[in-house]
Symmetry: C2
């Protein structure tokens, strides 16, 4: 089998990342740092903060960084400028802000609908928002979600789902659900955590209402990197967020006692944002934006297909354990195999420096981040996987 790295110009990006010799197949959980991150942090700490102190907020662009990062990220999401904000909060809290605001835009509708397969924190936050706003939380499985919307859509204020199932990697097309939501007068809110940076989501073209996502998965912003929020221009004048921190004020430095939301995407800001973590995310986005989301997706698909080809050649029974769609057009950036004693297999893989992500009892996920995984590494990972599963399969 030809190992294709030699002919793929994107393979050269792998040298930029500090993977420390590991095969890094858990970029759906946490990507590695770029080698240059240390210098970038030093540039900010020693070159901006130390000499200019608090004036860095104005002279070094810190104050604008939440929007600067949002605008850098926007093309990866298919969003025009001025519609993405990285306020500096965690993903859970950002979703909270989005869901309260979305429900308020449909004040007369009782139901907050969420897909049962959502990442658990989305379920927790949706439940909290429903309780706060006295709405009814309805949790429907993937298979029943659309039919609930068809049958009870007139009751639904907001429908929350994700374009990639965090367990199986199965894709959910954004446009049909969003269109269905709009047909029944509901708003669609998307959690893009497992899609951003690896899968085109075309937020503007799909007329998505609100969306949030992690900064630390395929976007590579570092452990717990702040989340992003997408709010299209058409909703910015009417949205009403609950996290009314002073950075969301129209004139924050007037120190007015009365809150007046900023115009545009600035209304999605909150308090004073955590600079060091913002810098990490901003720095991580540069190579992704340089490559572009379509090329990123193509390479991720190629790596995933190569993984399956290797499996087919070397241990075809493993292929039967695929818990993800076989068609790459129906997957996000990762795929999953059902393997008994997943925890144990994950540990054996880790001992051989192949990093994957097990979901006990029997799911192992393999993520194909486009810029730091190579075909040679994938081939090596399959060898190790064949070895690691000898005892359990």
């Amino acid at each position: 089998m030809t190992i294709r790295d030699d002919t793929d110009p994107l393979a050269a990006y792998a040298d930029e990342f500090a993977t420390d010799g590991a095969v890094h197949l858990n970029g759906n959980s946490l990507g590695p740092p770029r080698h240059s991150l240390g210098d970038e942090l030093d540039r900010v700490v020693s070159g901006q903060w130390a000499p200019r102190q608090v004036q860095g907020w104005f002279q070094d662009g810190w104050l604008d960084l939440p929007r600067t990062i949002g605008d850098r990220l926007a093309p990866l999401l298919g969003a025009g400028p001025g519609q993405v904000m990285v306020a500096g909060e965690t993903t859970s809290t950002t979703l909270f802000n989005a869901l309260v605001a979305a429900c308020r835009l449909r004040g007369d509708r009782p139901v907050l609908l969420i897909e049962a397969e959502s990442f658990p924190t989305d379920l927790y936050i949706a439940d909290s928002v429903a309780r706060l706003l006295d709405r009814q939380l309805v949790v429907e499985s993937h298979g029943e979600f659309d039919s609930y919307l068809c049958e009870h859509g007139g009751q639904v204020a907001v429908a929350v789902t994700a374009p990639v199932d965090f367990r199986t990697g199965e894709r959910r097309a954004i446009r049909p659900i969003t269109t269905l939501c709009h047909d029944v007068g509901a708003l669609s809110v998307w959690d893009l955590s497992h899609a951003a940076g690896v899968l085109p989501v075309d937020l503007d073209a799909n007329a998505v209402d609100l969306a949030v996502g992690c900064g630390y998965k395929y976007l590579g912003g570092g452990p717990g990197a702040p989340a992003f929020l997408y709010l299209p221009a058409r909703l910015q004048a009417t949205v009403d967020f609950p996290l009314t921190g002073w950075h969301a004020h129209a004139r924050p430095f007037d120190m007015s006692p009365v809150f007046e939301p900023a115009a545009g995407i600035e209304c999605a800001r909150t308090g004073t944002p955590p600079l060091l973590s913002l810098v990490g995310l901003h720095h991580a986005l540069a190579p992704l934006v340089e490559v572009g989301i379509d090329a990123l997706h193509r390479r991720s698909v190629a790596l995933g297909e190569f993984f399956l080809d290797c499996l087919a050649q070397r241990r075809s029974p493993l292929l039967e354990r695929l818990a993800s769609p076989r068609d790459p057009a129906r997957r996000g950036g990762h795929l999953a195999l059902r393997i008994p004693e997943a925890d144990k297999v994950e540990r054996v893989l880790a001992e051989h420096r192949v990093l994957v992500d097990a979901r006990p009892p029997d799911l192992i996920r393999f993520a194909f981040a486009p810029l730091y995984v190579t075909h040679e590494q994938v081939s090596r990972a399959v060898d190790v996987l064949c070895h690691a599963t000898e005892g359990v399969l």
Copy 2:
């Protein structure tokens, strides 16, 4: 006048900070970095994240860091262990979480009371919380706050105030208000942003209910460093926070679809916290904790008194412009002078590398952070101030 640095062992700490030759009198806004921060960030990025990737959450203590930082900070606040959490959100959002939870603990009372002199973001957040929970926001000035509590206390769910006025530095004693709150059955919530790290607040001894504060002022955690939240053990079993992110779950890695709050202070967590900014705060706290809050406060008072002594000797009319209490026992870590064209004077001071913080039109604040300001610097700052105000006074 004797310049006392020679005899004060705390003066040696100034060498640890990257003040870049400036006299840093705006530590009430943003403290300078320690020289060692770059190495600390490199230790985490290159020594933990790169080699151990996502396993850093478990093997390098990242997962516990929100509580580890809280426990490191606790003695500076007069709090026992297990009662302070740095969840990783901004101060505004942390206050939001605290106020919703506090109001819920007094579900039958209609009023959320806040002091008019609060930092504006506190007013915005209190207003947002009152609206969400259908409570009445009552804003009373410093002078009327206590009497409102005396007269209408039975209606008050939560009373929000701060131990230091962010403009004038005037102290507000914590115990009498907290006692008054408890006498009428209300909860007291304190914003410690302008006190933490410079003024003893004795949260446990004062029986404070909830408190929040910035990580980036006297605590020195860096631009936008995450906020802390204090929740005493006695309230941890009954509190009900709205930001129910998965890190606040009793067993986050079970991925249960139903939220069950963690026991203890872990219930104050939210989502996956921003590691780099947490590391900045954790690192900044070390010398403060080493010195202890009483010695920090003593030195801040000594520096402030020395500033006023220098003013009295060199330009006594400036002393008449003191907008803060003359008695240091009635001030926090900063004091303020009323000076016309405050913006302009601030700029002249900055040109001479004396960093202060103007609040237009006529307030200039001088903060005496204990570990990186020296008596020699204060003397120099007064010389520059005398020069800068020659034209306007």
